[in-house]
Symmetry: C2
Subunit: 114 residues, 2 copies
DNA sequence: CCTTCTCTCAACCACTTGGTTGATAAACCG
DNA sequence: CGGTTTATCAACCAAGTGGTTGAGAGAAGG
């Protein structure tokens, strides 16, 4: 799956089950069983989905006793937001002039290595 | 690949070649051969990538004579940006209070069916 | 100790993906 | 008309994906 980080994040999000898991985790930590409960698939399938999310850096898993708690890590989403916003001038009406666009680009690039 | 539109867009972006094609198209229309030139793969492979981008709604293709010009359609990127921003409160420091967050949620939801 | 609960590992399966090569269609050009 | 350019279609292949079932490891608890 072309191991570059951005591709990993996009690929991880290209599945409704995984996006639903993230939505659930946005409101707090959860165990694997808790995450699997709403879905009509096996716990093993959910475990695989969690592997994908973990490889993409979107969640972190901590073990306590026999439970593995999952927590959402929004850092990759921030990176993604910045990637998408590269194209913002193509649709957004907030850029009235090229100057506005260039000024904003400069602001965004301050300490933000692509 | 689970035909829902959001998944289609994420999946289309989960490939560095396709993202490079979009970056090229951000600076203007291009034909298939022009798009294929920088890549070490066949023109047919690029044609397949363009099919994926078209199904995701990220490009539109118009035919003139023997050329098919490709143009970027940023609308799905806007949708994506809104999707990602659902999680913005989890990382961004611009939300100082819950009130700020809720007020912003209300603004975003005006005419923005999820 | 034995059972139960939680979770992962391993093997397997159908399907998709990203690439190839070869053939074909369509339009221009001499 | 004959050849060249542009792009797609079709068949194929290796590798990956999302699901299954079955087995097993670790910790809690009667």
């Amino acid at each position: 799956m072309t191991a570059d980080p951005v591709s990993l994040v996009f690929a991880a999000l290209a599945d409704p089950t995984r996006r639903a898991i993230l939505a659930r985790l946005a409101s707090g930590e959860a165990t694997v069983n808790e995450l699997a409960a709403p879905f009509p698939v096996s716990v093993q399938a959910i475990s695989k989905h969690l592997n994908v999310l973990e490889r993409a850096g979107l969640i972190v898993r901590t073990r306590e006793a026999q439970w593995r708690r999952c927590r959402l890590d929004p850092a990759p989403l921030r990176t993604l937001s910045e990637w998408v916003d590269q194209y913002r001038r193509l649709w957004d009406d907030r850029y009235d002039t090229l100057d506005d666009y260039l000024r904003d680009l400069k602001e965004r690039s301050d300490g933000t290595a692509q």
